[in-house]
Amino acid sequence: MAPRHLMRLDLIFKDEHDVAPLVRQTLARGRDDIVNELIASGLKGRGGAGFPTGLKWKLTADAPGDEKYVICNADEGEPGTFKDREILMRVPEKVLAGMAVCAKVIGARQGFIYLRGEYRFLRAQLQQVIDGFHAVLDEAGLPFRIEIFMGSGAYICGEESALFESMEGQRGEPRNKPPYPTQCGFRNAPTVINNVETLAHTYSIFKYGAEKFRDLGVQDSRGSKVFSVSGDTPVPGIYELEFGMTLQRFVEDFGDGDTKAVQVGGASGFCVPRKRFERTIIGYQGKLTGTSLPTGGSMMLFNSSRSMYNVLHNYLEFFVEESCGQCTPCRVGTQQLLRGIEGVKRGELSSATLDALLDLAETMRLTAKCGLGQSVANSFASIVENFREEMIY
């Protein structure tokens, strides 16, 4: 069954046979020209936080320092996300092209792809593409090299500053911010770190122009997005769709007719119940009408046979294990949330405990050191508030 309403796009995965000439052509452009085009395109990061990519490059280009780095974040650890793998398998040269242009803009000589430990099987193939790409760079006269750095399987190492620590041989623990990577990243040098998909999009922008990209999507959420669709759906897989659709339209295309909730953005995202599908728009949190959601592109559909208690329990177990463990709210808070819902479910704790736990989750959001601990409240609050009875009975 193919999606009916939603227009599927074919930008990212489109076979392009002109990577080398495009890279040469783009590298010949001025830095400001490139950055301005990226800014005009409205491209935002596809790794989760949604930071404007053009601005990130500009800040790093302007940061003082002789040594700078470009890092492609291919740690793809968010539960329910598997699109970066697909991009690296099918169109890796677009990602490399994005890195090279970024290197030119910011003045980096070295780039890295931080590859998720579980994606080791991609390594040899990717290395071959990189080797070929280096020849293109040599021709273009850009002194830039790309290396693969293997992750070891910790979710937290996808967080940019933990990723730097991990690459430097330290424990993968997030750093204090500020300073931000644009000023002080890998080896304390100004660093651009972008998601695989973000980099691939820059290729399309350089090829087709900012205008074309901007035409797609809505307001704060421009362009297309690669979604990883999983759960109770007859058509699981990877889909490139335009931003700005309602969840209702999405479920009509991808649901099995009995969808009761969709978890948007993985374990650290939000759970939207059926009654909210119509009012929910998929895009970055901004000034859209109705609720909008940040998205790394994971869409997990649940039908009425699923226990939302089990879903939440599963997410919390994930956080209890994948928290780096350094900060109090996240390390201890996640354990309290997990033990707390277990106690309520078993009837050992009163249902009012859920309110105390909601308060805790909110305090975690306000106090945790990094995005992991800060976003536990997303799934926790959205599941507990919308499916309270399922938590108790």
């Binding site: 937290i156 204090n176 500020p178 956080f319 463990g325 900060c327 201890v332 354990q335 105390a356 106090t367």
Partner: protein, 596 residues
Amino acid sequence: MPHTVNCQIDHLSVNIQPGATILEAARSIHIQIPTLCYHSDLCVAGNCRLCMVEQVGADRLLPACATPVTEGMEILTNSQKVRHARKVMLELLMSEHRSDCTHCYKNGRCELQNLASEYLVQDGRFIDLVPFKNYTIDDLSPSIIKDDAKCIRCQRCVRTCAEIQAVSALAVAHKGAEMKISTFFDLPMAEVVCTNCGQCVTHCPTGALVEKNYIDAVWQAMDDDARHVVVQTAPAVRIALGEALGLEPGQIVTGKMVAALRRLGFDSVLDTDFSADLTIIEEGHELLQRLREVIRDKNPQVKLPMTTSCSPGWIKFLEHLYPDLLPHLSTAKSPQQMFGALAKTYYARRIGMDAKNMVSVSVMPCTAKKFEAARPEMCASGFRDVDYVLTTRELAMMIRQAGIDFLSLPDDEFDSIMGQSSGAGVIFGATGGVMEAALRTVYEVVTGREVPFDGLNIVPVRGLEQVKEAALTISSPLPEWGFLDGVTLKTCVVHGLAGAREVMKKVADGSCDYHFIEIMACPGGCLGGGGQPMPVSDHVREMRARAIYRDDAGKAIRKSHENPDVVKLYEDFLKEPLGHLSHQLLHTHYVARKRY
């Protein structure tokens, strides 16, 4: 770039240098923000999240310790949002922590407990997580007890071990709920590179890392009428003990300390300063002997630079990490162990006591001394030379237990025979002190003249700088030392093992030409030892150092070789430095250890 940044904290204006944190800005106007993972000795971690403050207009709270102030920032440190977050942080920490405070060694001196009482943390909002964990207590080390159930994961110990000591015996292992402070392969502290310096103990806010205490054993020894209990007290104890008993840092309480020790029931109250002077004689002559063998005799077997050997943490560090460099270590025992060996031989004979009925106790600023006393080499008297080592903190506890009103005690004096000391012995307690004391003696032995520094104060080796250097050119020596004429004696003083590592790297690759290096494991020297009262900071160490130098300046005798008890010891017993008896009692050897 503006020279200062303006911001508002709790509606008060603050002007502070760029780069300052919110915490520093708040403290500059006397606003206290609670902290746990923050320590002025260490890099900022920002992990306990207790110092969270509100920035007007911002959604999330900010860690005051880790956030630089920016122009125009408006900070609230006591808003409803902040108070709530603080309380939740404390409650979360308590839920993970075995909170049986009444049974805890740190009861009353625990930062977590103090904060919990300050913020009226009540039990019960959160589930007690301790029963779900598999906590164990590691008490196999003679010096340090590690109880993971009391750990709040602030990583102060980890940063201490890495930054101050460059040892990293303690490190973070695992992640998430399993995250813990661990050792190599989670082996007991006694089996890893731990130097027993105890800096982790003085930097731990809770009871997770404490010294192994020997208080009851010492009470028991004193209760036994058949035993004669001798106590010695290290130079750095008398200038810090007061802090644990209600005084400001930097007070010299020698007289009250002696009185208290007598009141506690020690039979002989003696002074490690005496054996510090003795150490200078032995170590100084060893240095001269090495200089003679290297410079005059060109003996390739003999190693220079010679390094001091009075800091047992430093010794174990070298044994583990640079076993090849052990020949550089002076063979002279530390003052504690010289004292112990003499107590059960020379002193026992002088007072007509059978050494087997003697118990020898020392009070030290140090936890590594507990390990040192237990080393198998340290039985030169035929018995264990030092039976029990108490830290300054333990002594303070005993004084309180005994109901002694310390501050109202009249001053008292050490017993004779091994109770006199010179100012040179006193300054052993500060970084640079051994060097200064040694130079005062060595220079005079070689030239017959006093060391050419105003008032005998060798200022270049004093102070809290990590690595200090001093050079002293010898001219017109006595005939016996003619080979030293014109030789510039190059010395180096290091405190903290991170600094020691840097200097030893240079020794190893031959890129330095020092003759003599003083190394103390702890920052500031013994005055900043792992057995000293808490809290500790550069300010506290500075105050203690000043007290030490004040004490020295006030002494009638300032040079070790003029200590009458030491002179008499050589006349009556040892005969000469580096002599037969000295070798038997006062010198030792070292063992190469593995890194794990």
